[in-house]
Symmetry: C2
Subunit: 173 residues, 2 copies
């Protein structure tokens, strides 16, 4: 998809296409549309990320809270977004054994209790062995640092989703 196509979209089309670049936060894409025209994919991406950066802390936490747990209840129930389903599946999180799943469930619960938002990780850059390790590590981080780390993961996820939608190489976006 070229930028001319993107820039010619009305807001309904734009939100339909880019509404889940930030998981379950179509509000972000809907806001970004105000900034068109976009000069190139990197410019489009910058507007997504800078919208998140300028939210108050409660809003940034809100963005995180719209994300599902990894290998959590929504995966079990088949209630993930298509993008999240693909990402978690690609990382092998849909085929965990009972013990691995239980371990992740426990770590996810501890993480949510400690930080007040779910553990967010760009699953496409990880795998089933690394996820619990990284979760256990981040569980020990100070809350202010962890909020920043989690938002960086939101951006990595958004970067890969945007690259997919634009048919672009993520390394060149």
């Amino acid at each position: 998809m070229d930028m001319e196509t993107v820039n010619s979209m009305d807001f309904g089309e734009f939100v339909e296409v880019f509404g889940n670049v930030i998981e379950r936060c179509p509000l972000v894409a809907a806001a970004v549309w105000s900034q068109r025209p976009f000069s190139d994919p990197a410019d489009l991406e910058r507007h997504f990320f800078s919208f998140i950066d300028t939210l108050p802390q409660s809003g940034q936490e809100g963005v995180l809270r719209c994300h599902p747990d990894l290998a959590g209840r929504e995966l079990q129930r088949g209630a993930l977004t298509a993008e999240s389903q693909r990402e978690q599946s690609g990382a092998g999180l849909t085929s965990l054994g009972a013990a691995e799943r239980l371990r992740l469930t426990e770590l996810n619960a501890q993480y949510r209790a400690r930080f007040g938002f779910p553990f967010v990780l760009a699953a496409r850059l990880s795998d089933r062995a690394a996820v619990p390790r990284e979760l256990a590590r981040r569980l020990l981080c100070p809350p202010e640092l962890e909020l920043r780390t989690a938002l960086e993961e939101v951006k990595k996820i958004g970067h890969l989703r945007l690259a997919d939608l634009l048919g672009a190489d993520p390394a060149k976006l």
Copy 2:
């Protein structure tokens, strides 16, 4: 639902219950959870509205763009949220004649083209005769004024939805 129940919800429960107080913007409820405990329903509502008030203009436009047209394509397709379906149906917008529907479709399109967001109106406080009249009137307003008017309608909708969820009298919330 009493405030003790509300204040004891984890963020997953809170977003599940209050996620559509602001149409298709669960991010707002997810952000508001950061402000708990809430002293009473009015306090809870204040946090929803002040989150919207502190968004940059693009974000406020984004909130509006998450709303469906009245008697529009999403109603035809059965793709409205449950709340919106009830509200539009209650105002008689699901049983328009062909001419009335065409007239609204045209006015909605003009409105979207002029302001860059859809016409938002608290349908429960209106009816099928008043909607096109109000739409035609607001179509002539200056954009800055119209943005404020539309956000006030978002709040009226949110007020009624919150009252429903809390089992409260809207006049006393």
